[in-house]
C-alpha cells in the first residue's frame, strides 16, 4: 500500500505502485457495491462538490453515487446554471465553494491544467474528472482495473487504442497508466488524429487497423470527438467506419479472446458495430460498474492523503 497524495490530478505523475494501490482498494469497494446495503460510513460528514464546467452525464453520476455510497454529502454544480455565466472566475468559484466547507472538489473543465491550478488555490482535495484533451485519470484507472480483472494481469498484454487519440484525454491517461504497468500499447486511427509524435509516450503508432487489432488482447475504442475538432480531420463518418470502425468482419480477424472496451458514449454503427457492443466480447457496461468502485477508492484514498506538507502515518 502506498498513497499519500492529497489530490488526483493526472496519471502521468503516479508510480506503478500508486496505481496498483488504487486498483487493489477498488476491488474491496466493488464488493461493497454487491452487498444488500451498498453504503459504508467512510466519508461520513464530508462534503463533495461536483464542479462540472463541461457537460458530462456518466462521470458526474458515477462520482455522485461514489460519494453517496461513502456517506458523503454531494452538491452538483454545472456551468450553465452557475455564476460562470455571470463572469465569475474558476478561482473565485472554487474559493466560494471552499467557504462553504467543501472537502473535495471534483472538477471537469475544457481547459487542460484546470485541476492543477485549482489544487494550488484551494485547501480541498481536488480530483480531475477530465481536463480538456489532457487527462481523465479515473477513466484510465477503471480501464486498467477492468483489464486486470478480466485478464488477471496487465504487464505483457497487447492493448490497442483505436480512434481519435489527438483530442482524447482518455487516450492520454490510458497510455500513461498502461505503459507504467508494463502493457504494450498500440495506437491506431486516421493519421490526422493519431500523429507519430505519440511514440514519445512509449507506444507504437500505426494507421493500419488490421495490423493494429490482429494481436491485441484488448481493443479500446474511442469516440470521434466532434466537439473538440476545430475542423474536419477526416472526410466523413462513413469513411471513418469503413476504414477504422470495428465491424464483425474485422472482429473475426482478432484473437478469439480479445475483449472490446469503450469509455462511452458509444456511437453505434460508427466506431463500433451495434451487435459487437452488446456481445459477450464487450466490457462496456462492466467498465461503468467498475468506474463506481474506482471512484470510491479514489475518494477514500485522497481523503487520507495530506500532500507534501504534514504527512501522517497511522
Amino acid at each position: 500500500m502506498s498513497w499519500n497524495r492529497k489530490h488526483l490530478l493526472d496519471i502521468e505523475s503516479l508510480t506503478a505502485a500508486e496505481i496498483f494501490t488504487v486498483l487493489d482498494t477498488a476491488r474491496a469497494f466493488k464488493a461493497v457495491g454487491e452487498r444488500a446495503i451498498k453504503k459504508v460510513p467512510a466519508l461520513r460528514g464530508k462534503t463533495v462538490v461536483n464542479l462540472f464546467i463541461e457537460p458530462s452525464t456518466r462521470t458526474r453520476i458515477s462520482f455522485e453515487l461514489a460519494a453517496q455510497r461513502l456517506t458523503a454529502d454531494i452538491v452538483n454544480f454545472s456551468a450553465d446554471a452557475s455564476s460562470f455565466k455571470k463572469g465569475e472566475t474558476l478561482k473565485d468559484t472554487a474559493r466560494n465553494l471552499e467557504a462553504l466547507n467543501a472537502d473535495f472538489i471534483i472538477i471537469r473543465h475544457s481547459a487542460s491544467g484546470a485541476p492543477h491550478f485549482l489544487s494550488r488555490v484551494v485547501n480541498a482535495h481536488v480530483i480531475n474528472a477530465g481536463d480538456g484533451a489532457h487527462e481523465h485519470p479515473t477513466q484510465a484507472l477503471l480501464d486498467t482495473f477492468t483489464i486486470r480483472e478480466k485478464k488477471g494481469k496487465i504487464a505483457g498484454l497487447n492493448v490497442t487504442i483505436l480512434g481519435d487519440i489527438l483530442y482524447s484525454r482518455v487516450a492520454r491517461s490510458n497510455i500513461w497508466a498502461l505503459t507504467k504497468l508494463g502493457a504494450n500499447v498500440t495506437l491506431c486511427g486516421p493519421s490526422t488524429l493519431v500523429p507519430k509524435t505519440f511514440e514519445q509516450m512509449g507506444c507504437r503508432v500505426t494507421h493500419d487497423v488490421e495490423e493494429a487489432i490482429r494481436d491485441a488482447d484488448i481493443i479500446n475504442l474511442l469516440r470521434i470527438q466532434h466537439e473538440r475538432q476545430r475542423q474536419t480531420m477526416f472526410p466523413g463518418i462513413g469513411e471513418y467506419t469503413t476504414l477504422f470502425g470495428l465491424t464483425k468482419a474485422r472482429l473475426a480477424r482478432t484473437k478469439p479472446d480479445a475483449l472490446i472496451m469503450h469509455p462511452g458514449p458509444i456511437n453505434r454503427g460508427v466506431e463500433i458495430d451495434s451487435d459487437i457492443a452488446d456481445s459477450g466480447r464487450s466490457l462496456i457496461l462492466e467498465q461503468v460498474t467498475n468506474g463506481l468502485a474506482v471512484r470510491m477508492a479514489v475518494l477514500f484514498l485522497v481523503n487520507g492523503g495530506q500532500g507534501p506538507h504534514g504527512v501522517t502515518v497511522g
Binding site: N4, D24, T25, A31, I37, A42, L301, G314
Partner: protein
C-alpha cells in the same frame, strides 16, 4: 530493537483456542445457530481455527466469514488511508449468534466498528466477542465474552500476534 517478551507461544495459543471453543459450545446450546466472523488481520485466521475446533465438538460444520471494518472506523480523517481488506461473509447473519473473533482487544473501537458493519449485513440474534489477548485500556464500554489471555500492558507497549507466517512458529509478543 525494542525489548520483546513472548506472552503466548504456539502451544499456549492452541490451548487457549481449544478452551475458547469449549466455552463457546458451553454458552451456546444450539451449535447450528452459531457463525464465526473474524476481523483481519489476525481474527480471520483465528475464526477459521475456531471453526475447525467447534466443528469437532458439535459434529456439524460451523461457518466462518471475514469482516473488514476499515470503512467503519472512526479515525479515518487526517491519516493515511489504511489498507482495505476483502469482506467475505458467505452466509446470512440474520437470526444467528455471531461470534466476532479478533486477535487483540484494546480500545474497543474495532469491535464497535465491527458491530456497525455487521448491521449492514443483517440483524444477528446475538453478537458475542472472542479475543486471543485482552490488553486492557478500553475507550468504550465493551467487554469480551471469551478471552485467551488477559495481559496487563502499558499504553506505550505493543502486542504483536504472529499466525500462519511461513517458516515461523505462531506466537504472541509484547514489545516494550
Amino acid at each position: 530493537m525494542p525489548e520483546t517478551l513472548v506472552i503466548l507461544p504456539a502451544a499456549a495459543i492452541q490451548r487457549a483456542l481449544t478452551r475458547i471453543a469449549h466455552e463457546i459450545a458451553e454458552r451456546n446450546e444450539n451449535g447450528a445457530d452459531v457463525v464465526l466472523v473474524g476481523i483481519p488481520v489476525g481474527g480471520d485466521v483465528l475464526a477459521q481455527r475456531l471453526s475447525v475446533l467447534l466443528g469437532e465438538i458439535w459434529q456439524i460444520p460451523v461457518p466462518f466469514g471475514v469482516l473488514d471494518v476499515t470503512l467503519y472506523r472512526d479515525d479515518l480523517g487526517g491519516r493515511i488511508a489504511p489498507a482495505v481488506h476483502p469482506t467475505v461473509i458467505p452466509f446470512d447473519v440474520t437470526g444467528k449468534t455471531v461470534v466476532l473473533v479478533d486477535d487483540v482487544l484494546f480500545s474497543g473501537r474495532t469491535t464497535r466498528a465491527a458491530m456497525d458493519a455487521l448491521n449492514d449485513f443483517g440483524r444477528p440474534k446475538k453478537i458475542q466477542l472472542a479475543v486471543l489477548v485482552d490488553r486492557g485500556h478500553r475507550d468504550l464500554p465493551i467487554k469480551a465474552d471469551f478471552v485467551g489471555k488477559n495481559v496487563p500492558t502499558a499504553l506505550s507497549e505493543k502486542v504483536r500476534v504472529r499466525l500462519d507466517v511461513p517458516g515461523r512458529a505462531d506466537e504472541v509478543i509484547l514489545e516494550k
